[in-house]
Symmetry: C2
DNA sequence: TTAAAAAGTGATAATGATTATTAAATTTTA
DNA sequence: TAAAATTTAATAATCATTATCACTTTTTAA
């Protein structure tokens, strides 16, 4: 039951632009970027496609703290760090926490748990130096 | 700089009712409960107080996935599990993940990270049996 | 290849959670 | 105990997201 998505130009540009970024944009941030290539696109289309693409496993929907969801074109296993000051979201390479991840996954196995979400908190580079 | 809060009846009842529960209610769920004792209280008062109480460290604001924030009267160290089916939030006792927690905390120390939030996913008892 | 069916789009309205505003009431301070 | 500070209830405003719908594009299958 793989999800079937049509090949529309809007969808192609949305995923293409998202995969260029490492900034984990919100739907409206990505909308502003995509609009440069498709000036007629509507915000609803961006929301709808991000939802579908993440349901299809082609991107990640980051339901972290904060009022807006963010999206990630990198579906490799990795974690995120959120700046408590400005809200920016950065990647944390998996290897740094691989051992901790193994322990978590093992601990999960005794419980009726399917998985977990791990969100780190810490000042980003910009906020540290100001 | 401890936060100073007045001793209002509304505040007292809100924290009292929250601490009775292990269900991690949303602001509006707690509003319905508090209204039984204070029929004139307004939803805004509940929101404002929950915000203040969590800023003061007297309760926890759970910014988990899902569209509504939840609140927890138990400020002891523990984790949460969220049911992907019904959205219910359950406690997970710390000891089950204490070793994993130690590994995470150690891994954090090499980074500019202050802490982390860990959210487990898994069907709750109700959803498993239906 | 082409016509019917399915899926997607843009514009806009609607929803739902949360925050802001404000005049009146309560609590704290000195 | 009176002035200052804080909080409240009611309500409006905001912000992110989802729904609606007439129209267009893409897919399917003959």
């Amino acid at each position: 039951m793989t999800i079937k998505l049509s090949n529309t130009n809007q969808r192609r540009v949305i995923i293409e632009e998202l995969k260029k970024l490492t900034s984990h944009p919100t739907a409206d941030e990505l909308y502003e970027i995509v609009k440069e290539r498709l000036p007629k696109i509507s915000l609803g289309t961006v929301y709808r496609n991000l939802e579908q693409l993440s349901a299809a496993g082609l991107i990640w929907k980051l339901e972290l703290s904060g009022s807006q969801n963010r999206f990630d074109g990198n579906v490799e296993k990795h974690f995120h760090k959120r700046c408590p000051n400005c809200g920016a979201v950065e990647d944390i390479e998996y290897h740094a926490f691989a051992e901790a991840d193994r322990h978590l996954t093992n601990a999960c196995q005794n419980y009726a748990i399917e998985g977990y979400t791990l969100e780190f908190r810490g000042l980003c580079y910009c906020c540290q130096s100001s």
